[in-house]
């Protein structure tokens, strides 16, 4: 069995602040294989972004206390020297972010920014790098790339900017592309174009992709495996089929029940998750979801549930027994499907 591309083991990222210790990520473990697309779903404060910013080394040890292991091709990135990290960033692991307008430098031409990314890792001339940049823009579907490469970000439309970001991220043929809410700021028709583009390029470049989002529709359509996060911990991990048709965590159930659906007839009332998202400083004891869980038991308030696999790689962090989970899902949740 080939070695997994990325293995994260018990990652914890805590930020000391004036108000207290913010436990943004509190014990996350997962694996990404070659060619896999992992969807990471969670709301604000779930820790999904911070997890991957830490993987890429963008959270400095000065601002946060980091524990655990992040193994990329077997090498622990958390303990690797700076120059190793820099050679990986942008070259083996790339990241694109939510708002392409603010993610590109407003004062430099788009071509220059892509060339910079290329030349940070490859020893080639500016001319050669620029030719590669033009080619990348063409591959992401930007017409007249030779002209576009000399323009500034504000001259691009929102969708085009995100394509340019993708071009920049893929220019060095990385093994792993992390996309942090890549389409949240875009119109829905543009969103569809960008997601299709990522799917296509994933094949062409043989890259693994992590899609971080809060949108359950996006992961259903574009991701093989899904990790649901809550309050800095993983709630559930499984394949697409498992998470949507056989999920094992009350938070996942809550999400599936509370979202509005375009594919189902109108319901009278939605079924929201009661309560408020948790504070990351004063995290509830035991299972962080327990104050909002309709199936809470006494043990949930005291003991933190571990992420336990039920079959294959399908795992959930919940004290309910497997048979109870299946019963509840098929009786209460799946009725809508």
């Amino acid at each position: 069995m080939p070695e997994p591309l990325l293995q994260v083991k018990d990652l914890k990222v805590h930020f000391p602040t004036d108000d207290g210790l913010v436990k943004a990520v509190d014990g996350v473990s997962f694996t990404i294989e070659q060619g896999e697309t992992l969807g990471v779903v969670g709301e604000s404060g779930s820790g999904k972004s911070v997890t991957f910013l830490t993987v890429l080394g963008l959270i400095s040890k000065k601002e946060a206390r980091i524990q655990g292991e992040v193994l990329f091709r077997g090498e622990d990135l958390l303990r690797a020297p700076d120059d190793v990290l820099k050679s990986i960033r942008g070259k083996s692991i790339s990241m694109i972010f939510q708002d392409p307008m603010t993610s590109l430098h407003p004062f430099y031409k788009v071509g220059v920014q892509i060339v910079e990314a290329i030349r940070a890792h490859l020893d080639i001339s500016k001319g050669e790098a620029m030719a590669q940049a033009v080619e990348m823009l063409r591959r992401v579907g930007i017409s007249r790339p030779e002209e576009r490469v000399r323009q500034y970000p504000h001259e691009f439309s929102g969708g085009m900017r995100q394509r340019a970001m993708i071009a920049m991220a893929l220019s060095l043929n990385p093994d792993l592309l992390i996309a942090d809410e890549p389409t949240t700021a875009l119109d829905v028709t543009v969103q569809a174009q960008i997601l299709d583009l990522i799917d296509r390029l994933k094949e062409e470049f043989s890259a693994s992709v992590v899609m971080i989002t809060h949108d359950l529709g996006v992961v259903a359509e574009h991701c093989d495996d899904i990790m649901v996060m809550y309050a800095g911990k993983p709630a559930e991990y499984g394949t697409r089929q498992e998470v949507y048709y056989d999920s094992h965590h009350p938070y996942t159930w809550g999400l599936l029940q509370s979202i509005t659906r375009i594919d189902l007839p109108r319901t009278e009332r939605l079924r929201p998750i009661k309560g408020l998202p948790p504070s990351l400083i004063f995290v509830p004891s035991g299972c962080p979801f327990h104050p909002r869980c309709p199936y809470v038991m006494d043990v949930c308030k005291v003991e933190v549930p571990q992420l336990v696999t039920s079959n294959g790689r399908h795992a959930s962090a919940c004290h309910l027994s497997l048979s109870e989970k299946e019963r509840i899902f098929h009786n209460d949740v799946a009725v809508q499907a």
Binding site: S44, V188, Q191, S258
Partner: protein
Amino acid sequence: MSATEVATELIPSGIGEREPLVKLVGAKKHFPITRGIIFQKKIGQVHAVDGVDLEVYPGETLGLVGETGCGKSTTARLMTKLYDLTEGQVFFDGVDITKFNRNQMRPLRREIQMIFQDPYASLNPRKTVGTIIGVPFRVHGTLSKSKIKSEVQELMELVGLNPEHYNRYPHEFSGGQRQRIGVARSLALRPRLIVCDEPVSALDVSIQAQILNLLEDLQEEFHLTYVFIAHDLSVVKHMSDRVAVMYLGKIAEIAPGDTLYENPKHPYTGALLSAVPIPDPNLAAQKKRIVLEGDVPSPIDPPSGCRFHPRCPRAQFPTCREVEPELTRHHRGQFAACHFPLEDRAVIES
């Protein structure tokens, strides 16, 4: 079809009256673009809203959807007269209020309210929540000072806030709670119409459902009429009785909710619907995609004829480039402005 014909055709479910509460006739709103050295000369305009006929019936929820630049927010503001119309008319309760000045609008302002998108920006951070919610009473002088507090606390309870938090400041509340404050404020004078401009877009998914339920409960209790604007089509589907799809300042299609989503007639509606990701992997795989090329064009220089023709996969020339389509009736209550509308069940196989 004229506005009146469209109007008489529609009988939203469960609503008896035929007189619309709000009516826009031939509404246009153009924002000038100026240039000049000393004296500013108009060199162009942004055709934000470019000829809209729309009725909103008492008790219904009318959804407005569309992408950036379609004019949905501007349309809503024309209905509430936050903007004056460049052309056309707006009626409230049968009365032509197009030319009403501020004094004439004042009493009407109690009947028409708005809820905004950003719960962080729409509340004054320096005022207590109690003050914020009480502002409408003070502005319109409808209650004596002593009664305001108790009325505000009642409102807070109504929207699910703890009335004891009367003296707290906005920053002490979460996003969802702040949105509830906005709702309470808009409800203070018991309006008849509330325009909700992306009220849940900035909220977490698990909170969105709470706020949407709240809005629905309040609608039932207070017989409210909603104009609901959102870019999330599934949210609009859930909330609305009828939905209008806008593109570049005009209405492309308007239909009862279920009809629109199951059986869109305008290719743009079809494309929009097929672009929405479905949280059901198997169903999503069966979806028929209508793919649009390019980005949403700018409302400064809209295309000739049918505005959608440059991006439309079904466009036929020269018709679509030269003739602007009118809203034509399809099934009961469904109107689409297209020369070559979609066949039945073009998008989703349910």
